[in-house]
Symmetry: C2
DNA sequence: TATTGTTATACTCTATAACTATA
DNA sequence: TATAGTTATAGAGTATAACAATA
């Protein structure tokens, strides 16, 4: 592991959860999720809301498009779409021009459901922002946006020379 | 996005994922999780690391203490501890003073595992921070800390007058 | 051969409720 | 009765790998 970052001997007491972005992000999301439930309820999970909203705005796109747009794994998305189709929120249609792709459409019921949730989504955003000191708000969203935009190689792993295989430079 | 709470008629196009804290937090966490895997691998999930670290720092505390400290649900934590015990990272010991509580201890193996992961944890933190413009970094952590600290009534629902029962003031 | 989507597998996390054994 | 922990359910999301159909 590339410990050259800080090759000092590290005491257990020197690290703690309060300066661990991963942990903080999880807690923050947890808090946000709680507010989400208060505002929107359990009819739709937050990722489901994101997906439905995206489809509402660009109906007819292929699943793969939403994978990238919404940031949900291919197989996860497939399962999510299954559930939402089962609940009458979405439909799948085989694309004519390419028989491999499923175009996604939102049903009237799905549309109504998302639209109903939109005010709640605003409230979630607003309430979370209100928890923060005013001077941190803009920067916070900026920071999250930057992190969200970083493409972690989203299903486009650029066919590197298949020679060596092995290490993703995973450093073990 | 601050279109004043709601009450206005909202067009679908006016809201989008790029100003939705919930969505942004999820994406950001996703990105962080990917870095976590690169640095630490799949030996431990991020929540497991948090838990082990907490126990390393305060061994012998009851499970319930870690529920609050680490922010993991009671039953989730129970299952996590099961897995970690099974993998020889933790032990449970019935507390003498209160036969209901399980005190948690980290084993030498667990200790070694966390300690080995600590440099990686630093790297995760560092790498995530480096993705951000310098001027956003401190504020970002501050904001996350604030959000993390908000207690969403963590298993301490304070026995309100048992009179009315009913509404958790859940609004809805 | 590459791409889209599905399926299988396996983990993990979350939440609720009911249950036990204590206190 | 309240608390600590477990267990049973149920629902989601995530990730990997393998596969079929299609391009």
């Amino acid at each position: 592991m590339k410990r050259r970052a800080h090759e000092t001997s590290i005491e257990d007491e020197e690290i703690d959860l309060s300066n661990n972005v991963g942990h903080l992000l999880r807690r923050a999301q947890q808090r946000t999720a709680a507010i989400y439930v208060e505002e929107i309820g359990r009819e739709m999970s937050s990722p489901q809301f994101s997906l439905l909203l995206a489809i509402l705005q660009e109906p007819g796109r292929a699943q793969i498009d939403f994978v990238q747009k919404v940031g949900i794994d291919r197989s996860t998305l497939s399962a999510m779409v299954d559930r939402l189709v089962k609940r009458g929120m979405l439909t799948r249609e085989r694309a004519q021009h390419d028989q491999r792709v499923d175009a996604l459409f939102i049903t009237p019921k799905g549309t109504a459901t998302v639209r109903r949730a939109i005010p709640g989504a605003y409230n979630v955003h607003r309430r979370v922002m209100q928890l923060l000191p005013v001077d941190l708000r803009v920067g916070f969203i900026k920071a999250l946006t930057v992190l969200s935009e970083q493409p972690a190689e989203p299903s486009k792993p650029k066919p590197r020379r298949k020679s060596a295989t092995a290490g993703e430079d995973d450093a073990e």
